[in-house]
């Protein structure tokens, strides 16, 4: 073993045993532990949540086509180790013995669904249970609604196209039914084997060919890369979990971003604590370096000794940090086991690599500047104790630290935007703090003048240290800011998720309510303690022409035999509504909403607002004249606005919203919704009995499922919050501890000079209180800035001011930092003066 190695090892061993390395080790252990447990947990949680979202796609990814898909494309997926399933769906008429209905016909192969579950009911709208089975060939499962409309029972026959199928089950839920309620028809699930015999997918019919894929992420990506060049965007589309815009998809996506944010903040926390610890470590080693240099140690030898030491510390810190991270993660998983299905069977290497990388980069880059200072300590310090390092460059210090943090964040998140926002907030905070500390010095001269009491002593120390210890003040502020960001972000985000589906969200919808039934239904429901929501008027109308050019209006197979030419139509009657008020989750993307403006239109032409996707599909533009047939009447409208509609919300949405003036002559039916507790489900039959012509949509299960997921995600986010708060608090403690040691010398002198314990204690507490208030206030300001940027740029949320934290942060900052200071001070003052002086040596 070389001299250098054995010296470095010996120094490391003794210092570790004597507790000299506690602070820097604690910093590394904490950072590695926090980053590991956070990213390990969030990775597993993301896996679990993605699994849940995948169930809404019935697979990890879907490939949709309007034409039959080339067999070889699906077969190729097997070469990428992907599991596949297929579905063909079309809108068709289903016939009972007497009645008929337009249905969403879905023919699936035996592998369907790859993810998620099918639920069936024991009777229409009856008790549900999960099944792994599918209808057998020759059979069909029908949506509860169809039993009502077609007037059929299980065991009866249903006629679809040329085929006759036996109804063998009541279909309650399928994974990829979609979230929209009103533009879907009741589903009929049947086997692919029977599809050909129906003859409903002939030329000209609108058929969707869906291929499902499941496999690991990289295989899916590789397959998509193979498939992408072959895709024709007119015909084909690819959907992955990340494209999910449902409430679940959005919650999961923002939760993922939150986890990422929390992990990034943990990295910064780690960096800050390591920076503080490294600075202190370096200062404590000025003497040994000067002594060794005096005794003849060369520059390279000193460098090797200390780089080795840092390496030992980093390795030990990383190992202990990994152990700590695994323990925390185990505890969290154990605590969450009942609520979230986070599997421990899958081992993720990425978090471990990230944690090790973070520990190593932080330990090396943040100790770079303190080490450079250490290396440049002149041997003359052995004679002249006041001589410090020859090197001092705040630019280098902040530059190195800043770029290290930024690189770590960027490398970890692979998201330039989120990294840049956090980094810019950090820079703003540091700049603001520097200005503030200058201000404090000026203010302190005024406030701290007069005879020497605790208050004056506190100010004197702040004045003297304000610039020297700016790193410490900044680290307090950054820590508090990060904790605020994580806390406020979590509060806002969970509040917004919950707002999507508040308690009492309607879970049943009623359509086809006539004017005559409207009041009777209201009062009947009221008598049974069920409150009915607003009634939306609806007329069924057929969209027949654009600018007097007729569009195709085929509805059924029979209509489709006519050759297709000219413009596409909707293919069925549309629900038309009228309103002057723009609905929630609707956004005007072109033109102006007719309720907000008056436009002069030709006589007999009324403004209409068209949903933007349908406008795209039907090639409708602003200013086009659209003609509708409503009953025997013709209504002419002009497109005055295009709307983007979020179809994933649990509310009625419409393709066409017409000016109320156009519709006065028509007798509408109404749509309404109500909330009924899941436990009262059995009352449904009784509630609806007097209104047999009214159709019921049951979204209770779906809403419960959504709420369940949102609750799980919120809970997970809460745990992450607690983890970050715990890590942050420990960092604060380490910081106070470190700065307390710096004050040791002064305390010893004051004590020796006979200063009362109460005076010293009060002065230290005041000093920390002042620092805490300043740090808290600066943190609140920086928090506001970061939140604004994060919410508007990353989380697509509405930004909000958090004035309460402008008070809470300084108060809590002062209380926590002051308390920690008092505890640290109490520890020092409990030593007698001799012990204090000896500690200084």
């Amino acid at each position: 073993m070389s001299t250098v190695f054995s010296l470095a090892w010996r120094l490391f061993r003794h210092e570790a045993r004597r507790g000299e390395l506690t602070i820097i080790l604690l910093a590394i252990v904490l950072s590695v532990g926090a980053v590991l447990s956070l990213s390990l947990f969030s990775e597993r949680l993301q896996g679990a949540l993605q699994e849940r979202s995948a169930s809404f796609l019935a697979a990890d990814s879907q490939f949709r086509s309007r034409n039959p898909v080339d067999e070889s494309w699906i077969n190729e997926a097997q070469n990428y180790n992907l599991q596949t399933a297929t579905r063909v769906s079309t809108r068709s008429m289903a016939f009972g013995e007497e009645q008929m209905s337009l249905v969403d016909l879905r023919a699936v192969d035996a592998s369907y669904p790859l993810k998620g579950e099918i639920t069936i009911a024991d009777a229409p709208f009856g008790n549900e249970s999960v099944t792994e089975a599918l209808p057998q060939p020759g059979e069909a499962w029908l949506d509860s609604r169809l039993f009502q409309t077609l007037n059929v029972e299980v065991g009866d026959s249903v006629y679809i196209g040329d085929a006759t199928l036996t109804i063998s089950g009541v279909l309650s839920e399928i994974p990829d039914a979609g979230f929209s309620i009103f533009n879907t028809d009741p589903i009929v699930l049947m086997r692919m084997e029977d599809l050909a015999s129906t003859n409903v997918t002939g030329p000209g019919s609108r058929v969707n060919y869906v291929s499902y894929f499941t496999g690991n992420e990289s295989d899916l990506a590789a397959y998509y890369d193979w498939l992408r060049p072959k895709m024709d965007d007119e015909i084909h589309s690819w959907r992955a979990i990340s494209d999910d815009d449902s409430p679940v998809g959005r919650s999961v996506a923002s939760a993922e971003r939150y986890f990422l944010l929390a992990s990034l903040l943990a990295i910064i926390l780690a960096a800050v604590s390591i920076a503080v610890a490294a600075q202190r470590y370096s200062q404590r080693h000025f003497d040994p370096v000067a002594i060794m240099k005096t005794l003849g140690a060369s520059g390279p030898m000193i460098r090797k000794i200390y780089v080795l030491q840092i390496l030992f510390i980093a390795v030990l810190g990383i190992v202990l940090g990994i152990i700590m991270g695994l323990i925390i993660q185990q505890v969290v998983v154990w605590a969450l086991a009942d609520q979230v299905d986070v599997t421990l069977s899958v081992w993720h290497w990425r978090p471990v690599i990230i944690a090790v990388f973070t520990g190593a980069i932080c330990a090396l880059l943040f100790s770079l500047y303190p080490l450079l200072r250490l290396f440049s300590v002149p041997p003359l310090r052995v004679l002249r104790r006041d001589i410090d390092s020859n090197m001092s460059s705040r630019t280098l210090q902040f530059g190195a630290a800043g770029s290290a943090i930024f690189l770590l964040m960027w490398a970890y998140s692979q998201d330039l935007k989120i990294s840049a926002i956090l980094f810019a907030s950090g820079i703003a905070l540091v700049a603001g703090l520097l200005v503030m500390t200058y201000g404090l010095i000026l203010l302190g001269r005024k406030l701290g003048s007069g005879s020497m009491g605790a208050w004056q002593l506190a100010w004197a120390r702040i004045r003297r240290r304000a610039m020297d210890n700016s790193v410490q003040l900044i680290s307090f502020s950054v820590t508090i800011m990060l904790l605020l960001v994580v806390l406020v972000m979590r509060n806002d985000m969970v509040a917004q998720w919950r707002a999507q589906l508040p308690e009492g969200t309607p879970n049943y919808f009623l359509i086809n309510i006539t004017q005559a039934q409207k009041d009777a239904l209201s009062s009947h429901f009221e008598d049974n303690n069920v409150e009915v929501d607003e009634f939306y008027p609806v007329v069924r109308g057929r969209f027949v022409a654009v600018n007097e050019e007729r569009v195709n209006t085929e509805v059924t197979k029979e209509d489709e035999d006519a050759p297709r030419e000219g413009r596409d139509g909707l293919g069925r009657e549309a629900n038309l509504t009228w309103s002057n008020t723009l609905q929630n989750e609707n956004r005007i993307v072109a033109g102006q909403w007719h309720g907000d403006t008056t436009v002069s239109l030709p006589e007999g032409v009324f403004p209409v607002s068209v949903e933007s996707e349908v406008a795209d599909r039907l090639e409708i533009e602003l200013g086009d004249i659209l003609t509708f047939n409503i009953g025997s009447e013709v209504v002419n409208t002009q497109v005055t606005s295009l709307r983007e509609v979020n179809w994933q919300t649990m509310q009625p949405n419409f393709f066409f919203v017409i000016d109320p003036a156009a519709m006065q002559a028509f007798m509408p039916t109404y749509i309404t919704s109500f909330y009924l507790d899941t436990e009262r489900k059995s009352e449904l039959t009784m509630l609806l009995q007097p209104f047999s012509s009214v159709t019921l949509f049951d979204v209770d299960a779906r809403i419960n499922q959504l709420r369940d997921i949102v609750d799980q995600v919120s809970l997970a986010v809460e745990f992450i919050l607690i983890l970050v708060l715990a890590a942050g608090s420990l960092v604060l403690i380490a910081q106070v501890q470190a700065s307390m040691d710096e004050r040791q010398e002064e305390l010893a002198i004051l004590r020796t000079l006979g200063a009362k314990g109460s005076l010293i204690r009060m002065s230290v507490v005041l000093e920390f209180l002042i620092i805490g208030v300043v740090a808290g206030f600066m943190a609140a300001l920086a928090n506001e800035f970061s939140l604004f940027m994060l919410q508007t740029q990353v989380f697509q949320m509405e930004a909000s001011l958090h004035v309460e934290y402008w008070i809470i942060a300084p108060v809590v900052g002062a209380a926590v930092v002051g308390l920690l200071g008092a505890i640290g001070c109490w520890r020092l003052l409990s030593l007698n003066t001799t012990a204090l002086l000896r500690k200084m040596v």
Binding site: T294, L295, V382
Partner: protein
């Protein structure tokens, strides 16, 4: 052993250049012991730092064992110190995280001596601290710490030993023990000794005394009364 020719030291302060050493020339012979005395701020520690190669002269020449210290860089001077120089300081300057024995071993290890531990064990016994070998500096009394420092200074059998107020932090009884130890070892090893002190008694034990005053060095006639006056 030491030759200085017109060495000066000037530092830059906020009020301009300040010359803290006037041109100084003197010689110290092999095996000789000299004491540099003077009031606080007279420049004696500055002179010691230049002689030991801890700092650089502004002007003039210093030869230590015929090596030109004034033209060497920090690395070369460190090497020279490691090979030929020992130090004892007023504040002991022990590495707090190493034990007494390891502190003594330190210069020998830095110099790459294979038998560092063996030498250290012998010398710690010589200074009477074998039973304290594994104690850390803050577990030792001031006198014991200085004995460790002396042992550390002698482990490499240096050609020249610089001592800066070696008894400055000690009580009288401990001071005497340390002085005796210092001179005994000095005699045994045959080291040249340069000692900076306030203490006339200690200075008198050296073969020659030099007086620093206002940055200038003088060598008074060896009568005690004038020496006492100068040292104040």
């Amino acid at each position: 052993m030491i030759t200085t020719k017109q060495i000066t030291k000037t530092v830059t302060t906020s009020e301009g250049q300040l010359q803290i050493l006037q041109p100084i020339s003197f010689e110290v012979k092999d095996g000789e012991s000299i004491a540099i005395v003077g009031a606080s701020g007279s420049g004696k520690s500055t002179l010691l730092s230049l002689l030991a190669g801890l700092d650089q002269v502004t002007d003039g020449e210093i030869y230590l064992d015929n090596e030109p210290l004034h033209s060497m860089d920090e690395e070369d001077r460190a090497q020279l110190r490691g090979a030929k120089v020992g130090f004892i300081f007023q504040s002991f300057m022990l590495v707090q995280s190493l034990t007494a024995l390891e502190n003594i071993m330190l210069p020998a290890e830095i110099a790459g001596m294979k038998d560092a531990k063996k030498r250290a064990l012998k010398i710690i016994d010589d200074v009477g601290l074998a039973h304290r070998a594994h104690h850390y500096p803050n577990q030792l009394s001031g006198g014991e710490q200085q004995r460790v420092a002396i042992a550390r200074a002698f482990i490499g059998e240096p050609k020249i030993l610089f001592a800066d107020e070696p008894t400055g932090n000690l009580d009288e009884a401990n001071s005497h023990k340390i002085e005796d130890l210092l001179f005994a070892l000095n005699k045994n090893v045959g080291t040249t000794l340069v000692l900076v002190t306030h203490d006339n008694e200690l200075a008198k034990k050296c073969q020659r005394q030099l007086v620093m005053q206002g940055g200038a060095l003088s060598e008074p006639a060896a009568d005690a009364s004038s020496l006492e006056r100068e040292a104040g």
